[in-house]
């Protein structure tokens, strides 16, 4: 015999709680490189050793063809660097900044790297060096 059983609707239904994740899940394969990200290369690290004593100076005038320095190039000058023989330096001549190669032997002198100009031998007491040019940047396209 078949008996029929009536199932009553529950007075107090049990609530089933399922969490809903509101965050989206990116589909696709996670980047295998993400644990290996390094900081991008920074030109400052390459050109500047001591930021607090480094100054930028604009070169103006006849090119120093011997070293490939042209008018409008950006000079990176470290003021704290101790000038050595053969350094490109910013020297103060007649109240102006000028770019020269510093000679210490046989006697202190400022060499122009353009054959049209003579090497200067100022009084060593009066010789003022603003700083040593540690790098210069030449833009290959004009404008901006």
């Amino acid at each position: 015999m078949t008996s029929i059983q009536f199932i009553k609707a529950s007075q107090e239904p049990e609530i089933l709680q399922l969490p809903l994740f509101a965050d989206t899940v990116p589909c696709g394969f996670p980047s295998p490189a993400q644990d290996y990200v390094e900081a991008e290369l920074d030109l400052n690290d390459y050109c500047i050793l001591r930021p607090s004593s480094t100054y930028f100076v604009r070169a103006i005038g006849n090119s120093m063809t011997d070293i490939g320095l042209h008018s409008g190039d950006l000079l990176i000058v470290d003021k704290a660097e101790r000038p050595q023989h053969g350094d490109i330096v910013i020297a103060e001549i007649e109240g102006e900044f000028t770019v020269k190669r510093l000679l210490l032997t046989p006697r202190p002198g400022l060499q122009a790297m353009n054959p049209a100009y003579p090497t200067l031998y100022p009084d060593p007491e009066q010789l003022q060096i603003f700083g040593v040019v540690t790098a210069f940047i030449h833009k290959t396209r004009n404008g901006d």
Partner: protein, 424 residues
């Protein structure tokens, strides 16, 4: 042990760093709006130019040599000040920036490796090599004594700008304090010096030998602390992180007198904008905005007018729009026509660290949606150095802007103004 390093005639020296043609020439710097002399180099002092002389007076005077005059170039001074600070921090472990050209250093224990005065000279050379600026260094067991040593190092050239007062040489300290006028002591102003003089105290040594209790009874606890400090007992410590600000003021004297409401509104709008930006820099929210305006108290044949109005905000804010709105409403309450205004400003008070507050059920003012995001974008653009955005209320060509007619280039902060060197 403390050391105080300060740059010799800082503003005037900054102007000379990138000007080899001015070496040894007299240089003076003028205050805001090219008002009066606020800095002189040694050559200018030698010509007898006094601090605070109005520029128009100086302009009419004949001097044997040409005087080089500059408007205040705050961009340059701030940049070089940071560079000096960086150099000093490289050699000293703990440094407190006391002002734009003065730094206190904690130099405890340095004498185990190097004599204090040798350290001072090393510091001096290091800063000179990197920035071209000369500093003076005074050292002592307390901040007040370090300041006295620095004063003496300037007064007597034989010290070469470096002087240390140490505990093991009390007679030297005594000698120096006996020569220092009371008015030159750190923290002793004109008024106190006068009152001290009536009690027969005219030198630092006499103050050092005064009874601290007597000083506290007749003056205050601050001067008592000075007495203790003069005796080598450190009472004021190094403040590396400045305490959070309780107030932000943004005020300026105008380049030209303001007579129209529209110009004043623009000025107030700009100050409010700047003050709100500073407020966000401090990560604070304010609940009180004050505006003041005044005419020049020195103008002849003009009635003086000055007034203040303020507004309590319902919700703490750091949104520029709220600050501007409150400032303009305050201005409207105190504005009077027919005056020639010389100065105005905006002040923010009553800070809280968060914008959270209990809202009122019937408040009509509701917090603005996405306010912090908008402000972040605004500050991001303005700090990027690529361009500026501002509120239109500030106008576009303000005629009341600070007058700086003899401004030197911003040598270290703008590509277009970097120094030039000739290729020869």
């Amino acid at each position: 042990m403390f050391a105080l390093a300060d740059v010799n005639s800082f503003y005037a020296s900054c102007e000379g760093v990138f000007r080899p043609d001015l070496r040894g020439q007299p240089i003076v710097c003028l205050s805001n709006n090219d008002g009066c002399v606020i800095a002189r180099n040694a050559a200018a002092k030698a010509l007898g130019i006094k601090m605070g002389v109005p520029w128009f007076q100086l302009k009419g005077t004949d001097f044997p040599t040409k005087i080089h005059v500059f408007s205040s170039n705050y961009e340059l001074y701030a940049s070089l000040s940071n560079r000096v600070m960086a150099h000093i921090e490289a050699l000293a472990p703990r440094v407190e920036q006391y002002s734009i050209d003065e730094m206190f250093l904690d130099i405890r224990g340095i004498d185990r490796c190097i004599q204090y005065e040798d350290f001072g000279r090393q510091l001096r050379e290091h800063v000179k090599a990197g920035t071209g600026l000369t500093i003076g260094v005074g050292m002592g067991p307390s901040k007040t004594l370090a300041k006295s040593a620095q004063w003496a190092s300037k007064e007597w050239p034989q010290f070469g700008g470096v002087l240390a007062l140490t505990v093991d040489n009390p007679r030297r300290t005594e000698k120096l304090l006996s020569l220092q006028p009371a008015g030159e002591i750190w923290g002793v102003g004109n008024r106190i010096a006068k009152k001290l003089a009536t009690m027969g105290i005219t030198t630092a040594l006499q103050l050092a030998q005064a009874n601290p209790t007597f000083i506290r009874r007749n003056f205050n606890v601050v001067l008592e602390r000075t007495v203790r400090e003069l005796n080598g007992e450190p009472c004021i410590s190094l403040e590396e992180a400045p305490p959070p600000k309780q107030q932000i003021v943004c005020s300026r004297s105008f380049g030209e007198r303001i007579t129209t409401y529209e110009s004043m509104r623009q000025a107030i709008c700009q100050y409010a904008e700047r003050a709100a930006e500073k407020l966000r820099g401090e990560r604070q929210f304010c609940r009180h905005v004050t505006v003041f305006v005044k005419t020049s108290p020195f103008a002849v044949n003009e009635p003086y007018y000055g007034n203040v109005a303020s507004e309590q905000l319902l919700v703490p804010t750091q949104d520029t729009r709220d600050v501007i709105a409150a400032a303009i409403r305050s201005l409207d309450r105190i504005w009077q026509d027919n005056h020639r205004y010389a100065k105005a400003g905006v002040m923010l008070n009553d800070f809280t660290p968060t914008g959270v507050s209990q809202l009122n059920l019937f408040d009509e003012v509701q917090p603005r949606a996405c306010s912090s995001e908008l402000m972040k974008v605004l500050d991001g653009i303005n700090h990027s150095g690529l361009g500026k955005v501002w509120f239109a209320g500030r106008g576009i060509a303000p005629e009341w802007k600070m007058k700086r007619e003899m401004l030197s280039p911003a040598y270290t902060t703008r590509w277009s103004e970097i120094p030039k060197a000739r290729l020869l």
